[in-house]
């Protein structure tokens, strides 16, 4: 073609014009911290495993492995975790929170169905770690330490592993076959478990100097034990007993013992012993468990007596709801003044200006065959008493940010350290303690740590967190309307007569639906919006979900950032 000068031009010759020179600010892809990840006490990368799960059956295993990288108990979590992730979930501000917990349960159950395992990839380090307590915290620590290549022995005073998961949470919330499967999956990785073994002298367990270590200055601390470090997580399983004036034949017991007793096989608190009407004193999750268990054991009435109001109850709202649905009665603003055989004397309380309950001097009677105390739990700290450097306060062990006690090499976590007392928090402690122990062992022994980076004083320090992905940073227009699915539940009447699991899980299609409701806050999920809305073709698509800004042509208009549904693009000033 003989193109006339200037009138006719070759296609695409505009590429010679680098309009990127126009910019005063530029778009940058960022990875922000989704609020679910931020809220998870066990530090799961929720956004990532939901991203994997969204792709369907081909990626369920990858999603599960992502959970397992942080938390070895997804099936358990899916039943007992209080889901701070869902409370924090940004989607709640759009329609309703993503059912993260439901999806986790689905993946956990799927793993059990498929028999997926976690191999140990690290080379053995030759180090041995003692874990005291086979509850969630100890088991989690054992899992992570084993994956890091360490040899772990768990010693637990009880007859079976699981801690509060087995002895505190009733079967109808956590079926024992599920619990056993996930516990033994950890143990099968090569963890030594010694049951019915109480540790009395922890210092004796710890090893002295090794030929390859730099422990010369610590010779005096360690005796000739066999372990290089210890993680203590014995929980808090001693029920607090308040002083309650009682007659001789008043029947009073504590909830922890009651629930513990459910596992022993024998049912000491059977119907006739428990009575027809059971009163539970306290407002926490244990009180709910005790009341609901009482009903299942045959009590026709279970009343929870609590000194403050529902809003002030420490029990998780979902548990209160389930309890109410099962016909548990609640007596707010009440304290037990006196217990007799067959009845209680209740004093009414009122809240003062500071929200503190004050006695009113008004009393009434409550018929009750048995009073179960659920007033909180104390930790048995005897295993650490007398150990040099270890400090206590308020009934728990003081630990540093790396969960190490005042004694070098001895770490603690779970209900026995200052923290919110949930299974998930305990599991999170186990992970953090494992990393801290690994870092500490390296500092002692000349091997670089498996987990980066090294903190000050050779302690493990987590990498700096990214900024939080807030709801305001999202462009929610692009998310289609889809409220949460709701897990099926047993009919209330059926629930109270059996110990069958109350809340069922989602099936695969609804779990997939739930996973796909995730907005992937702050993290690109490959929606192609940036690639599509740039008027200047200045976003390159290198592959599914992989984009690059072509700064030669980007004019910095900001449309990509404005139309990114998950807020994974930020406009930053153009570097001069």
């Amino acid at each position: 073609m003989d193109k006339p000068f200037a009138i006719t031009l070759d296609v695409g010759s505009s590429r010679a014009n680098h309009t990127g020179a126009w910019r005063t600010e530029r778009p940058v892809y960022v990875d922000l911290l989704p609020p679910c990840n931020n809220a998870c006490p066990s530090g799961e990368n929720i956004q990532q495993w939901l991203y994997d799960a969204e792709e369907g059956p081909a990626r369920y295993e990858a999603a599960w492995r992502q959970i397992m990288a942080d938390n070895p108990f997804p099936a358990v979590m899916g039943r007992v975790c209080y889901r701070p992730c869902e409370t924090a979930c940004n989607r709640a501000q759009l329609d309703s929170a993503v059912g993260i917990n439901s999806v986790e349960r689905f993946l956990g159950d799927e793993a059990l169905r498929q028999g997926w395992q976690v191999p140990v990839a690290a080379a053995p380090t030759g180090r041995r770690v003692l874990v005291v307590g086979a509850g969630p915290s100890g088991l989690s620590a054992a899992y992570h330490l084993t994956r890091l290549g360490h040899q772990v022995t768990i010693k637990d005073a009880g007859a079976e592993p699981g801690g509060m998961m087995r002895y505190g949470i009733p079967k109808y919330r956590l079926p024992r076959d599920i619990l056993d499967a996930e516990v033994y999956r950890i143990l099968d990785m090569g963890v030594t478990l010694e049951l019915n073994t109480r540790v009395t002298d922890i210092q004796a367990e710890l090893a002295g100097p090794r030929s390859d270590s730099k422990l010369s200055e610590r010779v005096d601390i360690f005796k000739d034990g066999e372990f290089d470090a210890a993680f203590v997580a014995v929980g808090a399983h001693i029920g607090r007993r308040a002083y309650i004036p009682a007659g001789d034949s008043a029947r009073i017991m504590d909830a922890v013992t009651m629930l513990h007793g459910m596992e022993e096989g024998a049912v000491p608190m059977s119907g006739p012993m428990l009575g027809r009407r059971v009163a539970v004193y306290g407002g926490g999750n244990t009180a709910m468990d005790a009341a609901r268990t009482a009903r299942r054991l045959g009590a026709s009435e279970a009343v929870v007596v609590y000194r403050r109001t529902r809003e002030r109850m420490p029990a998780h709202d979902s548990e209160v709801e389930e309890a109410l649905e099962e016909g548990i009665q609640m007596r707010w603003l009440s304290t037990v003044a006196h217990a007799e055989a067959g009845k209680l004397l209740i004093e009414k309380m009122k809240l003062d200006e500071t929200g503190f309950p004050q006695p009113t001097g008004e009393f009434e009677e409550l018929e009750a065959d048995c009073l179960v105390l659920a007033l909180g739990q104390n930790a048995d700290l005897s295993v650490l008493e007398g150990v040099p450097g270890v400090a206590f306060s308020d009934g728990v062990v003081e630990v540093g940010p790396d969960l190490m006690t005042g004694h070098p090499g001895i770490f603690a976590g779970g209900d026995m350290v200052p923290a919110e007392r949930t299974v998930t928090v305990a599991i999170g402690h186990g992970k953090k303690a494992a990393r801290s122990i690994d870092a500490w062992l390296c500092s002692q022994g000349g091997r670089p740590p498996q987990t980066p980076p090294q903190g000050a004083g050779n302690a493990y320090a987590a990498p700096a967190k990214h900024g939080l992905a807030e709801f305001g940073g999202l462009n929610t227009w692009y998310y289609a309307d889809a409220p949460a699915t709701v897990r099926p539940r047993l009919e209330a009447a059926r629930r109270i007569t059996t110990f069958d699991e109350v809340t069922g899980g989602l099936d695969e299609s609804t779990a997939l639906f739930e996973a796909r409701r995730c907005m992937s806050c702050g993290n690109c999920f490959g929606c192609d919006n940036c690639y599509g809305v740039c008027p200047d073709n200045a976003v390159l698509k290198l592959g599914d979900g992989v984009y690059e800004i072509d700064y030669d042509y980007c004019k910095g208009c900001g449309l990509c950032a404005a139309e990114c549904p998950c807020g994974a693009i930020e406009m930053q000033p153009e570097p001069s």
């Binding site: 505009s14 010679a16 680098h18 192609d528 599509g532």
Partner: protein, 356 residues
């Protein structure tokens, strides 16, 4: 829109793409090897809605015709920012003649292709609102009347932007332009009847007429593609915000277009042979003030004092559109939106809404 929205609750079919979709369900814009009828290096302003709309529409036509297409462009922003010698950002066969003749030139191209036995090659004529609604109206009407095989696309940014934001027949009431300035007793453009070119096109009873905006890519691609199923005259009217002329932030271009549809001011619909066949329902209705506030061309409606009577008239126009085109499904009640329920049209004569 009658096409099936993909039920993807993560992003639905509202986002450009989705890695979880099968290839054949993806939008043209999401494919890595898209044709980029308009490529980078052009001189459009930052955030230009017309550059975006043009690429969207023409890439869709490119796919529908397997690249066998020719575009004829009227004088205007799109032409000027895309072909300043020595640079052109077009990657398709393209011709620019004059301001008012794009529809006629396109007719000529179509006639030539027919005479040469090349009806596999399809023709698109395109121009801004100025070149379509005003100076090009005679040629457009002639093309419609002859039913020439041309898809004409109007990129409507509601004023003569390229010459400095002067008022056109498409400028909405109360809007500030350089020839309807925000001064005097009635600042901004006067209230008239408007000049609804999609309805004019429908009055010509041509095979396919549709409106769209840059806020809904999937819908726009669907309409451009559907238009190519027809032969004969077709018309596509796309709302393309202009950050410069509208006084909106460049990053707000898509948001502004979205608000135009969600307020009811710009109805999105399709028509065949003079009757409306579908309309896109409003998803989350907003009052017109949400739309007006973020454009400086309407700033005089809010400062120094809020001109409530003018705003009310604009709101009334939006309400009329909603009623006339059936933009709100019946089950969305007033309480949910906080706005008065639109008055239902009792006799949808002339719009072919019977039986809907």
């Amino acid at each position: 829109m009658p096409y099936q929205r993909i039920k993807f609750y993560q992003t639905g079919s509202l986002a450009v793409g989705n890695r979880l979709l099968a290839e054949d369900q993806r939008s043209v814009q999401s494919t890595a090897g898209r044709s980029n009828a308009l490529t980078c290096g052009h001189r459009a302003c930052q955030g230009c809605g017309e550059a975006l709309g043009a690429r969207y529409a023409l890439d869709a036509v490119h796919r529908a015709t397997q690249g066998q297409m020719i575009a004829v462009n009227a004088t205007g922003c799109l032409e000027v920012f895309s072909t300043p010698f020595p640079e052109t950002s077009w990657q398709i066969a393209w011709l620019h003649s004059l301001f008012g003749n794009a529809p006629a030139v396109a007719s000529g191209v179509a006639a030539a292709l027919k005479a040469m036995g090349r009806t596999d090659i399809r023709v698109v004529g395109q121009g801004g609102d100025g070149g379509t609604v005003d100076i090009g109206m005679a040629c457009l009407s002639g093309m419609f009347e002859r039913n020439d095989d041309v898809l004409y696309i109007c990129y409507d940014n509601q004023a003569y932007m390229n010459t400095g934001v002067q008022r056109s027949g498409a400028t909405p009431p109360a809007a500030r332009t350089a020839t309807t300035q925000a001064v005097g007793r009635e600042p901004g453009n006067r209230f008239g009847q408007g000049k609804n070119v999609p309805l004019i096109a429908m009055a010509h009873e041509i095979g396919y007429v549709a409106t769209a905006t840059v806020a809904d890519l999937r819908d726009l691609e669907y309409k451009a593609t559907r238009a190519m199923d027809f032969h004969g005259a077709r018309y596509l009217h796309i709302l393309v915000p202009c950050p410069l002329g509208w006084g909106s932030a460049p990053a707000d271009t898509i948001k502004v277009a979205r608000l135009a549809t969600e307020s009811g001011l710009f109805p999105v619909f399709e028509a065949e042979t003079g009757a409306v066949t579908s309309s896109t329902p409003i998803r989350h209705r907003v009052p017109v003030t949400d739309y007006l506030r973020i454009q400086a061309r309407y700033a005089h409606l809010f400062r120094p004092r809020e001109r409530t009577e003018v705003i009310a008239r604009i709101q009334a126009a939006a309400d009329r559109n909603i009623a006339r085109f059936g933009l709100m499904p019946a089950d969305i009640s007033a309480e949910r939106t906080g706005l008065p329920a639109p008055v239902p049209v009792t006799s949808p004569a002339g719009l072919g809404l019977e039986g809907r």
